[in-house]
Amino acid sequence: MTLLLSLSMNLNNSIKKNWSWIEECQRISAGIRRRVLEHTITHGGYLSQACSSAEIFSLLYGQIMRLGRSEGPSIPLPFLGSPSKTNPKPTSGMIYNGRRDPNLDRFFLSPTHYALTLYATLIETGRLEESSLDQFNVDGSSLEMIGSEHSPGHETSGGSFGQTISQAAGVAWARRAKGDTGKVWVFLSDGECQEGQTWEAIMSMAFHKINNIKIVVDVNGQQVDGRTADVMNLEPLFDKFSSFGACTKQVDGHNLPALRKALETSHDDKPLVVLAHTLPYKGMEILKERYPHLHYVRFKDEPERDSYKQQLTRLES
């Protein structure tokens, strides 16, 4: 009886524990969507990317990545110039991901038009002050619309696709050589899998057995011109990554337990690639009306803007 009771209590605790991390991720995801929508209503913007990736970001920043506390000022400094000999200490956005430490993880955002999604994530996870977003896309600010390495949460300039994954591979190789236990995380978008460099990077990681790197791909099936299937078909993406030598998993990118399980897959002497299949209008039904042209939301007229305001009201309630 005592044993049974104890088992039952453990089970309850475990369910409770499970629910609490899921709820926490749901809270973060909802916050990401709401904040990005708020800004989109005022300025237009990259809204569908937040909808497809909110769960991925919530899991990475909320549960999975081992990051130190933010070392950045809660209100970011303005852009202090690009790195150069005469500007020896420019701000790096990586300080918002915590200190560099052999035992801590590193995060690399490749498609940096997801910057607003990342800023919102940093706010939801206590790494950035809420009012920081007042600086978003404002002249002279470091919270640029398309992030660069000075932008909070960023370590590289990823705007030219396919480049960040190679840099992260180099970082991972060096960290392994140094004996670091911390991992290297890369957020990729599916569109940039059209870049040859992405495949060069995967091939080289497999060849050099780089196994401290974990790549999550937001497979939202979208790019600027429309559906990836219509612009330049990527499928079969799973087979491609597998045959290039990555340990590849694919899951519903909005299913938090499934996504978590995939991200926690052990992957021996290979890089891990998790294909997170997502919907670009998840949690934002109104976006569906624009499908498949979702890359950047720009309102045609005021009634359309008003309909998004109503969507915000619904999210807030």
């Binding site: 590289t156 300039s157 180099g170 060096a174 990077a201 091939m203 060849f207």
Partner: protein
């Protein structure tokens, strides 16, 4: 003239012994870029990157972010042309200390337009944060590791390889930003770089005998280009200035000098002995230098044009330059 083989090959192994931060990356051209010895001596610090130059540049940037000193080796064209965006966004923008060793400048390969780096100086010089170096002889090549190590940022090094001359005393290492003064004179100021320095030396002594004073400077650092020795030499040329380079006439040494002339308001003529805004073809170095007007004869005609008279120099007067035939051992390497 002393000729030495595989200077970089020996030098980088020596360097590697005392610099454990150095990682050599190669794009499937390991012995062609003289890093096979490094690969064999330090297999854990050698990265075979295959034929993926874009990834190689980014990978090197990642290594540099972790405090290592990546030295990337392949033919120059496959980096400054094929992977320019990667060099810019992954390396130059963050000012990372990646050392880029670009081989086969201009006419030094019979590999044709696809292999000949004819506008690399122009391109690389235009990148913020990039330091640009061009080697000409064994002493230059022996100096580049020390020299580039002193730069806390990316460095592009235009490399000569194989059998190369020793033009400058080994003990007088090349210094960043400092041109070598090879002769003094006030009629003409001549600035040469890379293999054109060796070529120009075929005639400079004879000019002295003919009463033409040439202030001759050998330039290794193309960026930054702010050496006071150069600006002073430019200001005192009586007839004018000549630049001579194994590069197109746009954006290379000649353009560096033109910018400096303008900056200091020097009222004088400039003749660029350079590849005249054209692609080359696959052929021997000697043939290409003559065909594309960067040989000693082209230099002589530039001098005659400045002084306004014919100079009495016959072909026999010109000291014999190295004649690299198409099929000798060194050239075969290039293919």
């Amino acid at each position: 003239m002393e000729l030495i083989k595989r200077v970089h090959a020996n030098n980088i192994v020596k360097w590697g012994k005392t610099h454990s931060d150095v990682i050599v990356l190669s794009g499937d051209l390991t012995s062609s870029c003289e890093v096979d010895g490094f690969r064999d001596a330090f297999p854990d610090r050698f990265l075979s990157m295959g034929l993926m130059e874009q990834n190689m540049m980014g990978f090197a940037a990642g290594l540099a972010r972790e405090g290592l000193t990546p030295m990337v080796h392949t033919f120059a064209v496959f980096m400054y042309r094929r992977a320019l965006d990667q060099i810019e966004m992954s390396i130059a923008y963050p000012n990372l200390p990646v050392k880029i060793f670009g081989f086969l400048p201009g006419v030094t390969t019979p590999g044709g337009a696809s292999h000949q780096a004819i506008n690399d100086i122009a391109v690389m010089r235009s990148l913020p944060n990039m330091t640009v170096i061009e080697t000409a002889d064994a002493t230059d090549v022996e100096s580049v590791l020390e020299l580039s190590n002193a730069v806390d940022g990316p460095v592009y090094i235009r490399m000569v390889r194989g059998e190369i001359p020793r033009l400058f005393p080994a003990k007088n290492q090349t210094i960043l930003g400092k041109a070598r003064i090879l002769s003094l004179g006030s009629d003409i100021t001549l600035l040469t770089s890379g293999i054109c320095t060796e070529e120009s030396l075929r005639v400079t002594d004879i000019l002295k005998d003919r009463g033409i004073g040439v202030q001759h400077l050998h330039v290794t650092t193309l960026k930054p280009f702010d050496d006071h020795r150069v600006s002073e030499a430019l200001a005192k040329a009586r007839y004018g200035i000549i630049t001579m380079e194994n590069h197109t006439s746009i954006g290379g040494l000649g353009s560096c000098v033109a910018e400096m002339i303008a900056k200091f308001g020097i009222a004088t003529k400039l003749i660029k002995v350079a590849i005249n805004d054209t692609y080359l073809q696959g052929a021997s170095r000697t043939f290409l230098m003559e065909r594309y007007g960067i040989d000693v004869k082209a230099l002589l005609s530039a001098i005659e044009s400045l002084v306004g008279e014919k100079i009495d120099i016959s072909d026999a007067d010109l000291t014999t330059s190295r004649q690299d035939s198409f099929f000798n051992e060194n050239q075969q390497e290039a293919l």
